[in-house]
């Protein structure tokens, strides 16, 4: 049987449970990983830094984190690779209050926006301004910790805050009963690589086949989730004690499903070289990174099954 030769795959998320991770649990519940010959162990995490650390020390086989972080880390020399990129663009939006609505880039001028160190949504605001030809100096960034951003926004201390459409927005709208004016950054040309699977160079060498099976099962799980979000909701809720209501979880899962795509003709998770190159440019726009490393050190599509 499969289980006799099943291989362990330890997977660490970069954060606590959220709707984005729903498909893993659906896949597990449906036995997709077992069928693929993989004994999957999922664990919640506490930030990309810690997750990547345990990845390169071999304690994890794969970590799930925003691709942009992985690219930044690889550019710094970390011996890891992206082996699947589910969200070529992070589903980030800027929300605002109806009385001071921001729905186009131009509206941003004269507004204050919450910013936390290392936060995807606002770190690349400069690039976003450039793309959309607006004057960034007219947008004032207010620095705070990531936990305070939304409360500060709700308390109207800032006009704009960036949220994940997949996770934050459904919860927020449900909580406040407000439909916030939304400025979808991806629609206005800001593509920051989102959910990605990252493995270490060592791990790829040693556990390639298992990772391949894992990614294949992921693809199936994603398909299954797209087809039946309610089932994914139930699967996630089964492990997510403190989670929000089913309705909200399902909204998260649906939004996530909608954000996962790959260029036509490629399998789910396919990594586009241009996406990586653009991301390196983005990073280069906010910090000194020197010459970009060769593309091959950032990713591999080898483990994806056609």
């Amino acid at each position: 049987s499969h289980s006799a030769m099943a291989e362990d795959v330890n997977v660490r998320f970069s954060w606590k449970l959220k709707g984005e991770y729903g498909f893993f649990y659906l896949g597990e519940q449906k036995g997709l990983y077992k069928d693929a010959g993989v004994t999957l162990k999922l664990g919640e995490g506490a930030g990309s830094q810690a997750a990547l650390g345990s990845l390169i020390q071999g304690q994890e086989d794969a970590v799930i984190l925003p691709g942009i972080f992985a690219i930044s880390a690889i550019q710094k020399g970390m011996p890891v690779k992206i082996i699947a990129l589910y969200q070529p663009e992070s589903p980030i939006a800027l929300i605002s209050h109806p009385d001071k609505a921001v729905t186009t880039p131009k509206d941003l001028e004269g507004k204050t926006i919450a910013h936390a160190v290392g936060e995807t949504g606002t770190s690349y605001l400069g690039a976003f301004c450039e793309i959309n030809k607006i004057d960034c100096s007219k947008v004032s960034k207010v620095q705070m910790d990531s936990q305070s951003r939304v409360p500060q926004f709700l308390q109207k201390q800032v006009d704009v805050v960036s949220v994940y459409k997949t996770n934050d927005l459904p919860v927020l709208e449900d909580k406040t009963g407000t439909k916030f004016p939304t400025l979808d950054l991806t629609e206005f040309g800001l593509a920051v690589p989102g959910m990605a699977v990252v493995a270490s160079d060592d791990g790829i060498a040693k556990k390639g086949p298992a990772l391949r099976s894992f990614l294949a099962a992921n693809a199936k799980a994603i398909e299954m989730t797209k087809a039946d979000p309610a089932a994914a909701t139930a699967a996630l809720k089964a492990v997510w004690q403190a989670g929000p209501s089913d309705k909200v979880v399902q909204q998260q899962i649906e939004a996530t499903a909608a954000s996962i795509h790959s260029p036509a003709g490629t399998p789910i998770g396919h990594i586009d070289e241009k996406a990586i190159a653009d991301a390196i440019k983005l990073i280069g726009s906010v910090e000194e990174i020197g010459d970009a490393k060769p593309m091959s050190s950032f990713y591999t599509n080898e483990l994806l099954t056609q």
């Binding site: 954060w15 606590k16 449970l17 959220k18 664990g43 919640e44 506490a46 930030g47 830094q49 810690a50 650390g53 345990s54 020390q57 304690q59 936990q147 939304v150 409360p151 709700l154 308390q155 996770n167 934050d168 919860v171 927020l172 909580k175 406040t176 004690q241 403190a242 989670g243 929000p244």
Partner: protein, 276 residues
């Protein structure tokens, strides 16, 4: 003072408190319930002021909302509280078991004191969050890193106050038991320790509340259970009320542990009556 019956006056004095130089307390009733009264007053003010101040419930929920939420979530909070409690107690116990011998070593050896103090202080001030990735790496995501953090942050006050307690002992008392042929071991248990107990317990009180902080930080970093984890979860769901419900539970845990230590102290130490 009028000349009244001896026994009557004595009883009056007993009720009044201990010494005449002491401010007259307004009876034991106020004393007994003062904590409650103050708590009620503060919570009442909070309840009333939150809506008035225009604070959104996303920033600061009212106490009533928090209390209601706590009651509704008792099972959830309890499950996580047990985890945190265990970590705190284990971390604190480690702090005691390592802190006190360390304090002894510092007390006895000046060379050791000089060598170890800077390291202890450095350890104490290192931002624990910076250690987190390392801890996770070596200790995994289980109990170990949280207990370690609770320990790391809590043992310093134990060391310091034990050392202060040991140093403040009257040299003559040590000579007394030495003259009876006491070994250093006996000197410690018969004189040094009892005399230092008030200090040591003072250290314990600070340490236990820090241990709570340590465990919660540990749970922020590497946990899938515990009140710190629950708090982060609540936060990422913008569930401020649950966040505060958790925070209140965490504080409650701290207060409970504090009073357990206070009770033990009252049992094992002889308090000299200090003239007020």
């Amino acid at each position: 003072m009028a000349s009244t019956d001896v026994i009557g006056a004595a009883q009056a004095q007993k009720k009044q408190g201990k010494g005449m130089s002491r401010k007259k307390s307004r009876g034991p009733w106020l004393e007994r319930y003062s904590a409650l009264i103050l708590a009620v007053v503060l919570l009442g003010a909070w309840q009333v002021l939150v809506p008035l101040s225009g604070l959104s419930e996303f920033v600061l929920p009212t106490p009533l909302a928090i209390a209601t939420r706590i009651v509704n979530e008792i099972p959830l909070l309890a499950t996580h509280a047990y985890v945190t409690l265990f970590e705190v107690v284990a971390g604190f116990a480690m702090g005691v078991m390592i802190g006190i011998p360390l304090a002894l070593a510092i007390f006895y050896s000046r060379a050791f004191e000089r060598a170890i103090y800077p390291i202890l202080v450095a350890l104490q001030t290192v931002p624990k969050v910076a250690l987190a990735p390392l801890l996770v790496l070596y200790l995994g995501y289980g109990w170990a890193p949280k207990i370690t953090l609770a320990f790391l942050i809590s043992f310093f006050p134990i060391v310091i106050s034990t050392v202060v307690g040991l140093q403040s002992l009257d040299k003559n008392l040590v000579n007394l038991v030495r003259s009876m042929g006491a070994s250093e071991w006996q000197t410690f248990f018969k004189v040094r320790l009892p005399a230092a107990l008030p200090n040591i317990f003072g250290g314990f009180k600070v340490a236990v509340s820090l241990a709570v902080i340590g465990a919660v930080i540990g749970e922020y970093v590497a946990a899938e259970r515990g009140l710190g984890y629950l708090q982060l979860q609540a936060n990422s769901l913008f569930d401020t009320t649950l966040n505060f419900a958790t925070v209140v539970t965490i504080s409650g845990l701290g207060v409970m542990l504090y009073f357990i230590i206070d009770t033990i102290e009252a049992r094992v130490t002889y308090k000299r009556d200090a003239a007020k």
